[in-house]
């Protein structure tokens, strides 16, 4: 018996080791790829400027927030765009850590982002049903893939991905209270995080149906489970805490929404914006325009959301659908970033691409290659990547 158990135990140990080692390996590869891209894109630049050079667009806002916190009103820099639009958890966490580390803010933030994304990759393992190939693709995507600069510089994406992953791992285990607590942090990281509360409710309802074989008595069953109700009411606390702070600090609990006006974003039908983007043909040549890339990312996100629904992963599909659709009411801005950080979608994509050995190999190569190419576009201020 002892003899029979040994190989299985050894396999299990080596698998566990891989779960920790693979993301670490991709973390190092990703850093190397982006550094080479930086040296190629800016050969004259000082090599120590690498970390700063990856900090573009919203990253600058987060750096300032970590240093000085939220703007009062009137805004001291005499602009209309208050930084209340940016949710607090991640920038303020980095702000707290920078008080004890002797590095510039962006260096501290990049270290925290690398660790957070590494953790996000490791804790995602239960979502892969022991599919090591899919997990490998996912870890490569997060840490050395085409959009790894979002996850390893200073954006909210690292924490958004980590907390979202924890939510779905908890829901997979029907640990609603754990999912609710993770949603507190998720909803304090980005506004759409609060919609994980809906996923929690849907998953609890689905679990009820699975255990009883019927929808009957659902409300009664919910009411008999105060822990579940507690989870549901705890989940949006991140958003509510931020609203309470804004109400105290600015006098407007919805300042995060109201300040969007200063960015001058349009407001309209998401379908119209996507169509407008898809048909924004280039004036010359065949290379797609920025609008087409953005609209393409939205379409890909929705197609994968449909696949989630087809696979009856309703909690994930609902979250992905709502979180992708809501920002589209304000146009296509940042759609690539939002889609790239949508855990249910990227996990599904990794699972699909790992379904055949040759497809896995090709995908891994593609991820690594794009992990070099896309940062070149990022360093070139490609507006599709904003």
């Amino acid at each position: 018996m002892q003899h029979m158990l040994q190989p299985a135990s050894a396999t299990s140990r080596s698998r566990t080791a891989l779960i920790f080692v693979l993301p670490l390996m991709f973390l190092v590869i990703g850093l190397a790829l982006r550094f080479i891209a930086f040296r190629v894109a800016q050969p004259e630049a000082d090599p120590t400027g690498f970390i700063q050079s990856m900090c573009r667009w919203d990253c600058g806002w987060y750096v300032k927030m970590a240093q000085t916190g939220y703007d009062p009103f009137p805004i001291p820099s005499r602009i209309n765009a208050g930084n209340w639009a940016f949710f607090p958890f991640y920038p303020l966490l980095v702000g707290a850590i920078r008080l004890v580390l002797p590095f510039p803010t962006i260096v501290t933030a990049s270290i925290v982002s690398l660790l957070t994304t590494y953790a996000a990759a490791v804790v995602a393992w239960p979502l892969f049903e022991r599919n090591l190939r899919a997990f490998t693709l996912y870890a490569a995507y997060l840490l050395s893939g085409p959009f790894a600069f979002y996850f390893t510089s200073f954006f909210t994406e690292p924490m958004f991905v980590l907390t979202m992953t924890v939510v779905f791992v908890m829901l997979k285990r029907s640990n609603y209270l754990g999912a609710g607590l993770a949603t507190v942090l998720l909803s304090a990281t980005r506004i759409v995080g609060v919609f994980a509360t809906l996923s929690l409710i849907v998953q609890a309802a689905l679990d009820h149906r699975t255990s009883t074989g019927s929808w009957r008595g659902l409300i009664g069953a919910f009411l008999k489970r105060p822990n579940l109700l507690l989870a549901i009411f705890i989940a949006p606390l991140g958003l509510f805490a931020y609203m309470a702070f804004l109400n105290f600090y600015i006098g407007d609990g919805l300042a995060f929404q109201h300040t969007q006006r200063a960015w001058g974003r349009p407001f309209g039908n998401p379908i119209f914006f996507v169509w407008q983007g898809l048909t924004a043909w280039p004036n010359t040549g065949f290379w797609p325009t920025s609008s087409q890339w953005l609209a393409g990312a939205a379409v890909l996100g929705f197609v994968l959301t449909l696949v989630l629904a087809w696979r009856r992963q309703w909690a994930q599909a609902l979250f992905a659908f709502v979180s992708l659709t809501l920002p589209l009411f304000a146009g296509l801005a940042s759609v690539i970033r939002f889609t790239a950080a949508m855990v249910p979608i990227t996990v599904l994509a990794a699972q699909l691409l790992a379904s055949r050995r040759w497809l896995f190999a090709l995908s891994l190569l593609g991820i690594i290659a794009l992990g070099y190419v896309i940062p070149l576009a990022w360093l070139g201020n490609n507006v599709a990547l904003v």
């Binding site: 009103f73 009137p74 209309n80 105060p226 822990n227 507690l230 407007d252 609990g253 919805l254 001058g264």
Partner: protein, 205 residues
């Protein structure tokens, strides 16, 4: 018994958990109530909440030497202290008026003299755009309207009545552009385009 397991109905933990749920619900309702009843300054409300203006005044000094021509093009010097709101730039050929209204401020001192404000403006060149009317007022008093054909540049003098800035020592100019257009469908009115300001001069008569 794990904290994760649901307590038995009627047990003290059941009651306590329900109490916590009720407390959370109450706290969230209070926060929501406060959020839909903001307590903010008038300027904040007008710009961010009611959307009754596209130009939210920022505190500027209006520091200006009478008679000097200010160049609003790139390389024309820092004009921040003259622009309370509604401008974006400078770009090569001027300062874009963004939205439906823009303001200029000049610290004139408590002069009682009449003055002339001369503005050089160019209408934007956007497809489908009509001639651009610019309605100018000074410290709330209408001082004139001009119409600028698409892509054309005009230099227009506006007569500022005597004594208008005597009380505050500040001359606040408002430029309303009722024909401003959205350059893309669905654009916010804070991004409307109309004219560019290239030069401004305020001279005592």
């Amino acid at each position: 018994m794990s904290l994760l397991s649901d307590p038995k109905p009627g047990s003290p933990r059941f009651v306590a958990t329900y109490g916590a749920v009720a407390l959370l619900a109450l706290i969230e309702l209070v926060i929501l109530w406060q959020a839909i009843h903001p307590n903010v300054p008038e300027a904040y409300r007008a710009y961010y909440i009611d959307h009754t203006t596209t130009c939210m005044r920022q505190p500027v000094t209006g520091a200006y030497t009478m008679g000097i021509t200010i160049d609003f093009r790139s390389g024309g010097g820092d004009t921040t202290e003259l622009r309370p709101c509604g401008w974006e730039g400078p770009v090569g050929n001027g300062m874009h008026l963004l939205g439906e209204t823009a303001r200029l401020r000049f610290a004139t001192g408590t002069t009682t003299q009449a003055m002339t404000l001369t503005l050089e403006m160019t209408a934007d060149d956007i497809e489908g755009m009509s001639d651009q009317r610019v309605v100018v007022s000074a410290n709330g008093t209408p001082v004139g309207t001009t119409t600028i054909p698409r892509a054309q540049t005009v230099t227009v003098p506006f007569a500022i009545p005597a004594g208008i800035a005597a009380e505050t020592g500040l001359l606040d100019i408002i430029l309303d552009v009722p024909d401003a257009v959205r350059s893309r469908p669905g654009d916010s009115n804070t991004r409307k385009r109309s004219i560019k300001l290239t030069e401004a001069t305020l001279t005592p008569n």
